[in-house]
């Protein structure tokens, strides 16, 4: 039994942890995550593993991927979990459309499925006739929190630019929309909006050029903290300390920047607990609780110097 599990999980991509031996009556939860090269998911995995040890009443099999867009290995992981007959699948989909069909198969096999982190596409769910709740943060609302902090500080007419994440990624879209909500709500002037693909060096290059084109910019909204770090370094290089920067994710590297005022704010969506929370919800359903419905929003919090 254990050997089969090991082989199946290994075949799906990166093998993270096999469950404890023995105690066959414990429910088995299959956790499917996105790229573990991403600090955010790496922390999430650590959180889930700690959670398994603390609760002690379930078995965790976790699978990650090589990169953000590798949804094929996610599909394989789900299919392997179906074959293994796990009790629940908890998944952060890499593609909000491609993952609907394999998850439908899992539900038809009687497996409890919980979708967290990124919501599956509503239209695709409807087309496949799938009813599935979403457990996760409101990326758009979170970005709006950060955007509003900037709007509050600048006041109406403040000139801002947006540094976007990967074009086409759902969380990138949501965060951009949230920033745009703030722009509208506070009457800000959006000078330019460009992608830096979540990456520090690219954000540094793209923003320093945007600064040349728009020297009158007053605020920057970056869709993640890695890019915000690149923006802050560009501002330092240009000797501009009059421009305010907000980010998203609350990675440790921005802590000092928020403290000394180089960054105005970031947003924490408590990634480390996110997978653990979703597992809790899944186990409740497995234990006979009612099915989840709609959108179970998880905590988000604005982080500032005070």
């Amino acid at each position: 039994m254990k050997l089969v599990k090991f082989a199946a999980a290994a075949a799906t991509g990166i093998l993270l942890s096999t469950g404890m031996a023995g105690a066959d009556d414990k429910p088995v939860v299959g956790l499917v995550m996105k790229s573990l090269a991403n600090e955010f998911f790496q922390n999430m995995l650590v959180g889930a593993e700690q959670h398994e040890a603390t609760r002690g009443d379930y078995e965790l099999i976790a699978v990650g991927m090589q990169n953000e867009t590798d949804f094929e290995s996610q599909i394989n992981a789900v299919e392997n979990f179906i074959t293994q007959g796990v009790d629940a699948i908890v998944i952060a989909p890499a593609d909000s459309r491609a993952m609907v069909r394999p998850l439908k198969k899992a539900m038809e096999a009687g497996i409890t499925v919980v979708n967290f982190d990124v919501a599956l596409d509503a239209a695709a769910k409807e087309q496949q006739g799938v009813e599935l709740a979403f457990v996760g943060p409101d990326n758009r609302g979170g970005a709006q929190l950060a955007g509003n902090a900037l709007g509050e500080a600048l006041g109406a007419g403040g000139k801002v630019v947006i540094i976007e994440g990967n074009p086409g990624a759902d969380n990138a879209n949501e965060r951009r929309l949230g920033f745009e909500d703030s722009v509208a709500a506070y009457g800000l002037e959006l000078l330019d909006s460009r992608t830096a693909h979540w990456e520090t060096e690219e954000a540094n290059q793209v923003f320093s050029t945007m600064l040349t084109a728009h020297p009158d910019v007053q605020g920057v909204m970056a869709a993640n903290d890695s890019m915000a770090v690149g923006v802050v370094k560009a501002l330092e290089a240009a000797g501009r300390d009059d421009i305010m920067v907000v980010g998203f994710d609350n990675i440790p590297a921005v802590g000092p920047m928020i403290e000394d005022g180089r960054m105005l704010a970031t947003v924490d969506q408590f990634g480390q607990q996110m997978a653990a929370n979703a597992i809790d919800l899944a186990l409740e359903v497995v234990a006979g609780g009612p099915a989840l419905e709609g959108w179970v929003k998880t905590e988000i919090e604005l982080v500032t110097a005070d």
Partner: protein, 332 residues
């Protein structure tokens, strides 16, 4: 295409030959046209701040491209430089954040560790592909994954930060508006130019690209020259890692994804033949400028991200077509 001159140790095909001047003049002209175009169409392109920006922006790509020129000249390719840069950065990042050491010791240790990490990856790339005569495309594709995995493993997928102040200062230091890190890149170009044109080693790099068998029959240790070319490429990835850290004050294990493609593009746009044996590091310098000027200028004129990506792609394709005709011209 290959003559005895190319294989021997004389600089007849050097930077001062008529052919080399014609080759580089075309690229220089293209760069000039781009600069003129953006100066006319945008307000800020020629402002001192923007020139400083462009120089900063092309630095890392230029450093990687200098090493890449050696590898492409021998008819190889190195797809691993972006990952190797990330690996070298997290190794150096781990070193520079060690507790209980003085600032100077930390910086020296970090620089040596970063360079060593790059060097080792280069030796492995070159050693394996040369010893078994395997295509470097595949070996370095393997290294692309190995080094990226190693970078994630060493750093536990966390961004490393909080470096000594003087180290971060170095990354943004200017001399008359010119970034010190760019001067460092320029120094590497000068060294590479000298080595390629005026040393036996350099001439044999061209020779191997033109006719490896002839170089071997002439009694030269081809294996070691090939290893050296990849080692130089790994070393420049290590140098790029140090510059990355100094500029951005972080070492990220996901840094440099896709950087190998920009470095290859700079070399090819610069007129170095993918088949090896023909090209120059001065061309690479101009190629890096073309990519940097395009990236900067297209944002300044307000073109969308997607259009910008398309135009950069078109420029690469056009450069290769031009190279085709240049090769015909040189052969006749």
């Amino acid at each position: 295409m290959s003559s005895a001159d190319d294989i021997g140790g004389t600089p007849k095909n050097g930077a001062f030959s008529l052919r080399a001047i014609i080759n580089n003049a075309g690229i220089g002209l293209a760069l000039l046209v781009l600069i003129l175009f953006f100066s006319v169409t945008t307000e800020h392109f020629l402002s001192p701040n923007n020139i400083t920006n462009i120089l900063t922006q092309i630095t890392i790509n230029l450093i990687l491209a200098v090493g890449m020129t050696f590898v492409i000249l021998i008819g190889g390719i190195d797809l691993s430089v972006g990952s190797v840069m990330a690996f070298a950065a997290v190794v150096a990042g781990k070193a520079i954040t060690l507790p209980g050491l003085g600032t100077t010791e930390l910086i020296v240790l970090a620089v040596l560790a970063g360079l060593a990490a790059g060097l080792v990856c280069g030796i492995i790339n070159g050693g394996i592909s040369a010893y078994w005569s395997l295509p470097s495309f595949i070996i370095t594709l393997g290294m692309l994954n190995i080094a990226r995995g190693a970078a994630l493993q060493v750093s536990d997928a966390q961004t490393i930060y909080s470096f000594p102040f003087v180290f971060e200062e170095f990354g943004s230091m200017l001399i008359y508006g010119v970034p010190v890190v760019f001067l460092l890149a320029l120094l590497l170009v000068a060294i590479a130019w000298f080595v390629l044109n005026f040393t036996v080693f350099g001439r044999l790099i061209y020779g191997i690209g033109n006719n490896e068998e002839a170089v071997r029959l002439a009694g030269h240790p081809v294996f070691w020259y090939k290893v050296a070319a990849f080692t130089i490429c790994g070393l420049t990835a290590g140098i790029a890692a140090i510059v990355y850290m100094a500029r951005l004050s972080i070492a990220s294990p996901i840094a440099g994804i896709g950087f190998e493609l920009n470095a290859i593009a700079a070399v090819i746009i610069g007129g170095t033949s993918l088949a090896g044996g023909r090209g120059s590091v001065i061309g690479t310098l101009l190629g890096a400028f073309i990519i940097g000027v395009l990236a900067n200028g297209l944002i300044l004129i307000g073109l969308s991200d997607f259009m910008r990506q398309m135009i950069t792609g078109i420029v690469i394709v056009v450069a290769v077509i031009l190279d085709h005709y240049r090769a015909k011209f040189s052969a006749s």
